[in-house]
Subunit: 303 residues, 2 copies
Amino acid sequence: MIKPTEPIKDFNQLVEHLVERKIQKRVAVVWPEDGHTREAVEMAIQAGFIEPIFICSKQSQELYGDRFQTILADDPTDASVKAVALVRDGGADVLMKGFVNTDVLLRAVLNKETGILPKGSVLTHVAAAKIPSYPKLIFFTDAAVIPYPTEEQRQAQIRYVVDFCHAFHVEKPKVSLIHCSEKVDAKHFPYTEGYLQLKEMAKEGVFGDCIVDGPLDLKTSCCAEALAIKKIDSPIGGEADALIFPNIEAGNLFYKSITLFADAEMAGLLKGPMVPVVLPSRGDSNKSKFYSLALATMITIDS
Amino acid sequence: MIKPTEPIKDFNQLVEHLVERKIQKRVAVVWPEDGHTREAVEMAIQAGFIEPIFICSKQSQELYGDRFQTILADDPTDASVKAVALVRDGGADVLMKGFVNTDVLLRAVLNKETGILPKGSVLTHVAAAKIPSYPKLIFFTDAAVIPYPTEEQRQAQIRYVVDFCHAFHVEKPKVSLIHCSEKVDAKHFPYTEGYLQLKEMAKEGVFGDCIVDGPLDLKTSCCAEALAIKKIDSPIGGEADALIFPNIEAGNLFYKSITLFADAEMAGLLKGPMVPVVLPSRGDSNKSKFYSLALATMITIDS
């Protein structure tokens, strides 16, 4: 068990933390047939926090076979199926997508008989961002998978981000339920009424040690001054550790706005399956893929 | 008629343009009983591009009466009704909200008998942002008014942003229809199918001289490199002049992300009524209110 320490506030601290504690997790890399995947994986190998298992072509096997475990696959589909089977057998702690279409990998992950999504488990995207002008990491969901979360899915999302924050040693994370304003408006935005219930559940301890508040907008969630100007009282105090977005468009716009215009560093993964799935986009930087592997490793530690 | 010139690329150029051409518009300032409204209005008076008409208390009348036109009002509601009546009578070119609740002013604007929203006109929020890392102004809608635009409302939104771009001397504005990705997905996101129709209408010239494309995400709309990586061909080429957001949450998250984390300067107003309505939020900076007045002035010029 990792001793409680100071909260991890950026990705450098995260990598340092993993390295200092000699944490290493087994990552099944699905069809690593492109330069981008290889570079990100090599960075994580160099840093020392992953032990890769390449599910790959004959060519890649010749490249990696001497140094690392490899499993031969015929094509991206075959590699996906074999990687998922490996996870089911307890042979990997993290799954990482290589040069495979997302659909192909997800089909293997979600297969009802041979897949790795436990029954009743909610599959959602969770990301962590370090924005230069914000003093700590901020976790958020969902920018990529669930279009319009149901109440039940939103509960799972809160549970996930709270667990992530705890893994990062944020003892009592502040989780903001995001909307355009601070008003509950059941007529136009039914989810804002749902937020009230989520707050009640949080108070009852359903999500573990955390503070949940909302509806709040992005500014009142992340800026104490904005909160004061609006004369709003919120236990989050403009210092959110995590944001729950009402829908995928809002999450996606946040993700892309801060990446494109605010120099944010980003890590993300799919939560819900037996192991976290790192699913980089073509547009992600190598650094972002590397940080995603670090994030997946960190939340896989048994605490 | 203003001669076509180079596109106006930021707010300083906008203010210079108004000043150099000695453009001045009559702004009805509704209940200017707070310091913030006064400061922003004073800035615009100093710059020279507005002639204020204060619809105000007796106290403010004593303060402003010597220098400017004033209309005495009893309270915020009375001021709203009187300002709207002034606009109806052709006595003002722009309406600006002072220390009044938005609901109160909007009630006067939207009143079916005495209001100033022409029948069939779509009321929506249009904003302009200057993000330091983006080389030009970007117009967008809707971050504040319409929760989930109908197809008809979206057509009006396109018309508005195209008109705004033309007013800013962008001859053939590139308008991006925003989504999380570039895929049309009628099942989960019916509006993406609607986008196809809007593109067709644009080709037929319905919106005037412009390029409309989508669905595109924020990155492929505003970053040529992201477009290339995804191997997408779009006439927008990662150089969008305007963004149409699928819903208010997406628009609002864009607005607040770039303001809070990317040092964006912002101007915004309501379009649809007989005159533009500047409706600052409590959290807006004086500069933002000043730029909003400049924006309203600019789009009010007869071309």
